[in-house]
Every structure is written in structure tokens, then in C-alpha cells.
Symmetry: C2
Subunit: 436 residues, 2 copies
């Protein structure tokens, strides 16, 4: 039987998962890969007590793996975009296929990596880069290959979903849940990447590129995090029949492509509204199939390893066949990719949830609704809720119909100028997601 | 560019969808298949006004397609297991790859079809046979290839899910909703295949075979339909925090493999409990990835076409590469498949929902709970609800902990023998599905 040698660079959370799952399920995995997969080298800065690497060749220099003439597939699990990029390019130059779980690397350097791989007749796979163990890349590239994708919307960061789920279920403050998430290891010491939506934006860029057949790019992608969300917004949203989720949304229309990551109100009856804790889920709406949803764990050692190994199996099974029969990294040959114009957020149309503090006296609401009407915005619902005792101000919450963001911005500016309104107008976008 | 000629046999609901989607999205599809896909022949008993086949060669004899020397891929969409089987075998004998949406055919004759295909170096694909547009076969065979599958549970028949959703949402009777489903075209004039669970059992056999690496077989598969369900059970289940879904369940344990299709109580907070109407969803629990869920439309012209065309693209892209690089029909080479013992339903362990009619007098419940205790069954909840005014009997509803079905059977027999109990004891199985 053919032997395929794999070198793993980085043996942290994901790397140890890959090592352990490959070792545990090797018989089944070999049978699916139609060859014998062999971990022939591991590169790591220090040993990981979670794995038994006694019979594996260990090196401290990751570049050893990229240069090792015996190795067929280099698995990049070191993270980051500088050394990881060097490593991947060196591996390709030495004729190795590459499997990576690195979303930042693919989002930022994907095009040059794919070009190098293509010119050398090599495979680059990155299923684990988006939504952990969920086979969403394969489903988009192959499972839905009959379709034109209209839009996709995903909970693609487990940390923010955990925080929002806790704020929702227990009325807790953002900062309080973040501290717990850091303690539990769900969030990094510097949580910026997760809570500001940067990690999600990398994943969204990858999904959108495959969905719409356009080159990978972060340009024009709108990103907003969850740091400004208040428990009262989560609870007012519930009162109105919505859950707040941090979504990555990509939509293609005649006006261009929307690419945006932000907190979003979604109707409670949507399946995705019920996706809680560190779970991920991606909804895909396409012209032939309609709406589908892919749910599963978005992170963690073995769930991520599941995706990395699925890539290793695909590469091992097909690496000796004709490159023409391979699925290209973004689903279509790179010369067929087409740049599409990314819409400015001000031209994007969504519903809006608005909250502000207004004097509790007659006429205020009528002034506000007149401003909305003048901006061409229809109102779906208004609720007014008292603030703590003794306050002469109330919270006004308005749900609008779908409108362009620039009209909303205009209305917000006028409302903030009113003497009867105190402070800023907070708003959160609303998506109906075909209620699926 | 390579040209791949496709012949479509049967141009009804699914066939017309395949024709129309292929025509509409041909540029994108060709780009993904890395070749030019051409519908070169259609076989149908009569023309379908939903398609414009003016520039396609139409024959009334499906076997023409199987013998047509120009055709590379035969798409079988005629249904049934006799002529369809002949057609597929003839197509293989003439060196054609085969794509089919026919679950009955694959469940009943899959092994001999795969054997024939393998011996001739041909591909047989059947993504559309299970859960319509959801790429569940690909996800199981390839996306989760790192895993040992522990269990899967799916809503894999849209008709029964529509009926149950309506009974649940509106308290309607089974027969009443069935009549509506027939009128809407969701159910056949003879609904037996759907409502008795036969269609679901075919799909479950296919999923289980891939999940556990065993030869396809319907032997030992336990099947129960939804015809005996009463609106009161649906509403009592809700009162207890459960939805009733018609699930196909396959589970592998040290005791053997469970294969069963039956109405099932699932906790409301499970995502799958929120899958309504004609939608399908399959949950998969596996050792590395944990729990995943795949949701989408389980039937319909274009959703099913989406899966058929995904198969056509896979075949067209890879048919000229080495057969060793192909994914075998059941995920592993046929010589690696292993027969596993299928458990008798009496040895399967689940929770149970029980309902019976008992005299409303002291001591009855204590007798019943003693019987349950003697059978070794723990009780999770008991509720007692009045029957229509003037009745001296009440409905007793009991939710048990997980127990072997034979112990439940024993307890049920004793309860039915009680003078204070009228008629039969109705029971429905309960699954917790890891609450995912």
C-alpha cells in the first residue's frame, strides 16, 4: 500500500488533537484515504505532554519539516502570518502539499500561496480555517457546486457566541463574561481578535471568496465587534422576539457584494438563533438548493483536528492523480476568479434596532417618528421602557423595516440633535434570514 | 476543454430540476467541474412542459441512453427498483458512470451495483438519495473522515415532518394533515412509503452503512410510522418540554448497531426539535468532531437537483483520474466493509413516554409506579390530565429514564392487565441527543 508521510508543524491545541486522532483512528482513516498515512516528523518549540511522540521524529526547527525529502504533506499549525507564511512557501518550494488551519494566513496571503501551489502542481487545503470541525469549505466548494450562492450568514467565532449566549441567558455584562471566557480558555489574554470581529472577518473573507468565485481579499470588509453591546439590548431584543448573534454576512446582489461582521438581531424562530455557547453554524442560501445550515463545534483540539485530518485524507487520496481532477482552493480555477465590487456599509440594506434615552413627555415620540418618516424609514415596532426610579428619561426602542444604512445614519443624526434626547442613539442591524 | 456528455433518464420533478439548474448555471458549473458538461440525451415517457428541450436529443426508450456510445454519465431519475436496476446495470455494462437519486434502489441493490461499478472502474454517486439538497453523504464520507461515528439521528422524510409540524403547531389530526399534504403534493396518493417510515428506513440504511463501514442492508432495521400518533401526545410532549419528530437513528455500541425509524420525543432545546415543515436535518455525533448538524430542504425539484448535479460535477471532474483516488461509494473500499450485528429493538435503550387511561381513584398510580419499579425502570415525570367532562378516567402520562425496551414491554403488559386501566398503553421512545 502507498505510504504518505505527514509532517506536523506546531503541536499545541490543534496539533496534539491531530496527532492523537490520527493515532487513535488510523485504521479507519487509512481505509478512507486508500493509503497508509504516517506521521513521520513533528516540529515544535517544546514537547506537549498531551501526546506520546516517542516513536516520532521530533525537531525544534519547523523548516526542517518543509525541507524533509521524505515528507509529502506539511501540516501548518503554528498560527500567525509571518513565519507561517515563510513555512508554507518553503514547503511548496520543496514540493510538499500543504494543509493548514490558519485563517489569518489564508485570508491575508491566500492568493500568493495558491498561485505558488498551482504553478508547482500541489494542493493547499484549509477546511479547519473556518468553523472548526464543520465541513463548510467542502460543502460550499463541492456539495453546493450546482448553485449560485445568494448569501451566507454564520456564527463563525465561538468566543463571541459564548459571550453573547451568557449575556442572553443570564443578563450578564460583556466584561464579566469575557473574564470568565478567558479563565476557561475560550478567549485569549488579548481578546481583541475575537471580540472585535477580526477573526470572524478572516473567516468571512474565505467563505465569501469561495461562495462568489472572487479572489481572497479583506478590502472593504466591514467589521464591528461585540464590546459595546449592553445586557439591556440583549433583553429588549428578546422582548421583540429576536436573539442577538455576532454574524459574518456575505451577500451578492446587483449592487455588489456585501461583506460584513457585526452583532445582528435575528428572529428567534430561525435555527441559527438557537446556536449557543462556543458552537458555530453557517447558513447558506443558494438559487437551487434554497437555505441550508451547517452546525458544529467551531474550535477545540479534536473538532479542529477532525477538519485538518479530513484535508490530509483528501490530499493523501488524490495527490497522485491528475491536478486537473483536484478541486481548486477556491472551488474554481484561479484564472476564472472575478473581482467584484464590495459595497460600502452605508449602501447596505438591513432592518435596524435603535435605542436611545428620551425625556418622558408628550410629543417626543411624534418628533422622532417624523424624523424617521422624513428619512424614508418605516417603523416595525416601538417600545418604551422606564429607566431606574426617579429618572425623567425613558428608553425608547425602535425596530425599523429594511432600509439603507445611510438613511438610518441621517435619521440618527437628527434624533441625537433633539433637546429631548440624551446621549447617543445606539443601533444594531437586523436580518430576517428568510426565517429559516 | 474536455467535454463530458450526460444522459438524463426520467424528466419528472427531479429530472426537470436537473435540466433547468444545469442550463441556468452552466458557466459556474463547468468552471467547478473543470470541463464542459453537456446534456446530450434525455429519456422520458412524455415531454415535460417545465423544460425547454428543443436543442436536446429526446428518446422514449431509457435504455437508449444506457447504450449511447457518446454518453459518459447516465443519470437515473426514474425511481423504483426494477427497471431502474436494469437501467443502472446496463449503463455500467456499457462503461457509463452513474448518478442516481434513488434511495430504494441503493438501499436494496446498492451492493451489487457497487460491485459491478468497481469491477469496471466506474463511479456510482447517490448524494440526492438522502436528505435532498443537504450534502450529507459527502460530509459523512469525506468531511468527517477523521472520525469514528458514534451515532446519527435524522429527520429524513419531509412528508412526515410536515405532518408532525402541523399536528404540533395547530393541534390537528394526522389524517386531516395527511389529506392537506396530498393536496399540496408533499405526499403521494399512496402515502404508505412516507408515513409508515419505509422511505426513511432506506435512507437510514444508506447513512448507517457509510457511518459504520458496513455493507448496505435493510435486515434488522426497525421501522415504525406516524399513523398512530394522536394530537394529545404531541401536546403532552410539549407540556413536558419535548417535540415529537420522526427520526431515523443509527447508533454503534459494544452491544451492536441500532437501526431504527420511529416517532421520537426530543428535548425542545435541541436544534433538531426546531426543524419544521418539509425540511430535513441530520445530526451526527462522532469521536473527534463531537456533534454536528446538517440542515436543508429534503425534497423538491431544484433542491434535489442541487445534489444530483454536485454528483455530476464530482464525476465529471475526476472520471479521468485514477480510480484509486476516488472516494468509494460507501467511503471505504468494499473489501474493507464489515458486517455488524444489528440489535433487536427489545435490547435497545431509550427513554419512554407512556400514556394510558386509568380510573381516577387513590392507589392506581402507586400500583403503576410499583410495576415500573419492579421492572427496574426509573420515572422522570408523571402528569395526570382529565379526560372530557363526566369521565371517571384520567390520562396518565409517564416519562421514564433510559431503559431497555424489553423491560418497558414487560411493565406495559402488567399495566394493561390492571382492572383500573382501560385499553392499551401507548408509548413513544425518547432520545436526549446530547441536548445539542
Amino acid at each position: 500500500m502507498r505510504i504518505v508521510n505527514v509532517g506536523i508543524c506546531g503541536i499545541g491545541t490543534v496539533g496534539s488533537g491531530v496527532f492523537n486522532v490520527l493515532s487513535r483512528n488510523l485504521t479507519e482513516i487509512n481505509s478512507r484515504a486508500n493509503c497508509q498515512i504516517n506521521i513521520s516528523q513533528i516540529a515544535c518549540r517544546k514537547d506537549n505532554p498531551d501526546i506520546d511522540a516517542t516513536s516520532t521524529h521530533v525537531t525544534r526547527d519547523i523548516f526542517d519539516v518543509a525541507k524533509n525529502p521524505d515528507i509529502n504533506i506539511v501540516v501548518e499549525l503554528i498560527g500567525g502570518t509571518t513565519i507561517a507564511y515563510e513555512l508554507v512557501m518553503m514547503a511548496l518550494k520543496h514540493g510538499k502539499h500543504v494543509v493548514t488551519a490558519n485563517k489569518a494566513l489564508i485570508a491575508e496571503h491566500g492568493m500568493s500561496i495558491f498561485e505558488e501551489a498551482e504553478s508547482r502542481g500541489l494542493l493547499v487545503c484549509f477546511e479547519a480555517a473556518v468553523a472548526g470541525g464543520i465541513p463548510i469549505i467542502k460543502s460550499l466548494r463541492e456539495g453546493l457546486s450546482a448553485n449560485r450562492i445568494n448569501w451566507l450568514a454564520g456564527i463563525i467565532n465561538g468566543t463571541t457566541n459564548f459571550i453573547l449566549s451568557e449575556m442572553d441567558a443570564k443578563g450578564r455584562e460583556f466584561s464579566d463574561v469575557l473574564a470568565e471566557a478567558q479563565m476557561k480558555g475560550y478567549a485569549e489574554a488579548d481578546p481583541t481578535f475575537d471580540v472585535e470581529g477580526i477573526d470572524a472577518s478572516h473567516k468571512l473573507a474565505i467563505l465569501a471568496s469561495i461562495a462568489f468565485g472572487m479572489p481572497l481579499s479583506l478590502d472593504g470588509l466591514f467589521t464591528d465587534g461585540i464590546t459595546k453591546l449592553e445586557p439591556q439590548d440583549v433583553s429588549y431584543a428578546r422582548e421583540l422576539g429576536y436573539a442577538i448573534k455576532h454574524l459574518g454576512i456575505a451577500r451578492k446582489s446587483l449592487s455588489g457584494v456585501e461583506l460584513r461582521v457585526h452583532p445582528t438581531l435575528v428572529p428567534e424562530q430561525c435555527l441559527i438563533a438557537g446556536v449557543n455557547d462556543v458552537s458555530n453554524a453557517v447558513m447558506v442560501n443558494a438559487d437551487s438548493v434554497g437555505t441550508t445550515l451547517f452546525y458544529g463545534p467551531g474550535a477545540g483540539s479534536e473538532p479542529t483536528a477532525s477538519a485538518v485530518i479530513a484535508d490530509i485524507v483528501d490530499v493523501a487520496r488524490t495527490m497522485d492523480s491528475y491536478p486537473d481532477s483536484w478541486v481548486p482552493p477556491l472551488g474554481i480555477p484561479s484564472q476564472s476568479l472575478q473581482s467584484l465590487s464590495i459595497m460600502n456599509i452605508e449602501n447596505v440594506e438591513t432592518g435596524f434596532y435603535i435605542r436611545f434615552s428620551a425625556l418622558d413627555k408628550p410629543g417626543v415620540l411624534s418628533t422622532v417618528t417624523t424624523i424617521m418618516g422624513d428619512a424614508g424609514i418605516s417603523i416595525e415596532a416601538i417600545i418604551q421602557r422606564e429607566q431606574p426610579a426617579g429618572e425623567s428619561y425613558v428608553n425608547v426602542i425602535i425596530l425599523t423595516n429594511v432600509t439603507k444604512e445611510k438613511y438610518l445614519d441621517e435619521a440618527v443624526k437628527h434624533i441625537e440633535e433633539l433637546d429631548t434626547v440624551r446621549g447617543y442613539v445606539n443601533f444594531i442591524r437586523v436580518e430576517y434570514l428568510d426565517q429559516a
